[in-house]
Symmetry: C2
Subunit: 388 residues, 2 copies
């Protein structure tokens, strides 16, 4: 008998419970052992929930899970920074496997928790933390095994991408789209975590650390959200065949790493340019495998729960490497830079080399470096790099 | 000490040797065991090769490998139907793990070889057989575990896609592109296996069987290659925003399966429509995970060798399920059908419902079923379904 505790019973937690019971019998048959989910940890045990607890005990006492030696696996879906961290850390110390969707805690404590898992010989699995239902972490761990990844780029916020897609397809202001997306539940009540790019940066911090086998922290990643963009910018670039995306990117040359999250105009007929709506997708470039890309549902109850259940099966069947902690390549972080053409909207005159005038206050620059544009941009102006 | 025999020393085999020796030390360090590759099986031992044998014995005697009890893993990269089959079958019977890139043998003997592996408790791994360097088989095995895949579609021939992309981008005839691609080594001297869709069908046979957990054979898959297409068809659809692709698709409803390989016009700004050049990509649709897509290098020495090495590490570290044979869901196969608009080129008058005339002898039909179009098409006419 293997006993699992589930922490958190919101959107994702309830999805985990539902899928767990749908698949329980098939898992037990293949495993030759019973698998049970006796505890659900919540903050408020009196709140009503959609999904039946199937006999599990609802508790708000974290000790009940941590001190129960028969609980071998903790599935963490609280979304809570403090509780999530304390729970995962102590669970690993008590030799319980941990499966989490909590990207905030991972971003803050990735190396420490990975090291705890290694030290105590248990799994720390987090497929659901980046890309929701997209199988991303597991193939990335395989791809990065021999240090062959040179760069990666991706769209990691389904909600940002939803906003940007709407702005291109409809005559609607940025403010209206954000309001609509918030009402539909695509954005949080305070949307700045998404549209400011903070959520994307957290995920890039995890992906880049795995990809380059050394620590890349949030502070190492330059950040610019989509809050300064106007419908006009996006539709003008749209007319010329470009889709504006909040692109997360990181590249490595030797021990030098550049990582950034900022809006980029990509050709519509490209992998990431064609990716409309709320999906997530990432491209990895490297030696030998050359290039591989993954795309899928970035969020939602069932895609995220599906990813946590995949991790659960890997833990039950011991199908993952335990020696794969975030490695310790000594990396040197530089400001992100790249030469490309820029779309510029500016009420003030430009001192940048201009190639074309696209309209009132709108220009296309000659190829120029990102850092140079940033330093020479008049106040209030917007600059969007355009990829060929 | 774990001993590996490599069968085949052509493009892929030499890539395997090269990567194996580049990664050997890192693998041994993690595994805590020595790993050696003492034999290379070839047809002609006198032929010169690019890549150094690193002390391995070159032999044309298959018994040398099969009868050596110290050989625990066979990596098969012969591309030969008869030898490949005999070697893999007997290796599995002798409890050796088998890693193969040989889609022809898998397509012919998938169930038998899978069953042999299960029976003898060893691995049969074939990541390199479909999609070259794209991690596809391993995530597909995970996704299909609970019978949740409803449909899949993909581009599985890099060479066909190269030909179709060239035809759209350049004013060049089908015959000229095929000749050029053959000279560049993208197509075999006799290109019919690729452009006739036979190679794609073999790969779809493997993917569909895994996805739906029951046998789908080549004979169950309707087939139409790209040989009847003209530059004119592709450029006219290109002007209207479509990319013509040789699409492999399969869908399941209950126990009923429809599978097909035929040219389809896809919007350029879609995952598969944007996929120009020699890449491979597949989309899977299903319950819970909703949709996931994978894309990567479909062929080439190092991408394919990389996939075989990934399988090798999974076998060495026992990171794959052994109970995953092609399952035995009793499936019923129907002719592929779907309602959509069609691009028609025909010198004869049409009896199909026409929506627009696009030019001399070129029409766009109203939405109509695939099987109906096929039955009513005048001789010599070409029909390409158009996806929204």
């Amino acid at each position: 008998m293997i006993r699992i505790a589930l922490a958190g019973y919101g959107t994702v937690g309830q999805g985990v419970m539902d899928l767990f019971h749908k698949r329980k019998e098939a898992i037990e048959q293949r495993l030759g052992k019973q698998v049970d989910l006796p505890y659900v940890l919540v903050r408020d045990t009196s709140k009503p929930r959609d999904i039946d607890l199937q006999g599990a005990i609802l508790t708000s006492d974290v000790r009940r899970i941590l001190d129960d030696e028969t609980v071998q696996i903790v599935m963490e879906a609280t979304g809570d920074i403090d509780l999530g961290y304390r729970l995962m850390k102590e669970a690993l110390e008590k030799k319980k496997h941990v499966i989490t969707a909590n990207k905030s805690v991972l971003s803050l404590h990735f190396e420490e928790l990975s090291e705890k898992a290694r030290e105590h010989g248990v799994y720390l699995l987090y497929e659901a933390s980046v890309g929701g239902g997209t199988p991303l972490i597991k193939p990335l761990q395989d791809l990065s095994l021999h240090g062959e990844i040179r760069s990666l780029r991706g769209l990691l916020s389904g909600s940002c991408n939803y906003v940007l897609t709407k702005l291109r397809e409809e005559s609607i202001s940025y403010e209206e789209v954000v309001e609509e997306a918030t009402e539909l539940g695509f954005l949080e009540a305070d949307p700045i975590d998404d549209v400011g790019g903070f959520d994307t940066r957290r995920k890039l911090r995890i992906l880049a650390t795995l990809a380059f086998q050394g620590k890349t922290e949030e502070a190492d990643i330059s950040l610019e959200g989509i809050t300064e963009l106007k419908q006009e910018d996006i539709s003008r670039l749209g007319e010329r065949g470009y889709a504006v995306r909040l692109l997360a990117q990181a590249k490595r040359e030797g021990q030098r790493v550049q990582a950034s999250v900022h809006p980029v105009a990509l050709p519509k007929a490209s992998f990431l340019g064609a990716m409309d709506g709320a999906e997530n997708g990432v491209e990895f470039f490297g030696e030998n495998f050359i290039k591989v890309s993954f795309q899928g549902s970035g969020a939602g109850r069932y895609p995220t729960a599906h990813a946590m259940l995949s991790d659960l099966e890997d833990a039950l069947f011991e199908l993952r490497r335990k020696d794969l902690v975030a490695k310790k390549e000594p990396l040197h972080h530089e400001p992100f830079n790249e030469e490309t053409r820029f779309y510029i909207r500016s009420a003030e005159p430009l001192t940048l080399p201009v190639e074309e005038k696209w309209g009132e206050n709108i220009w296309l620059t000659a190829p120029i470096e990102y850092l140079q544009v940033k330093s020479m941009l008049p106040p209030g102006a917007v600059a969007i790099p355009i990829e060929k």
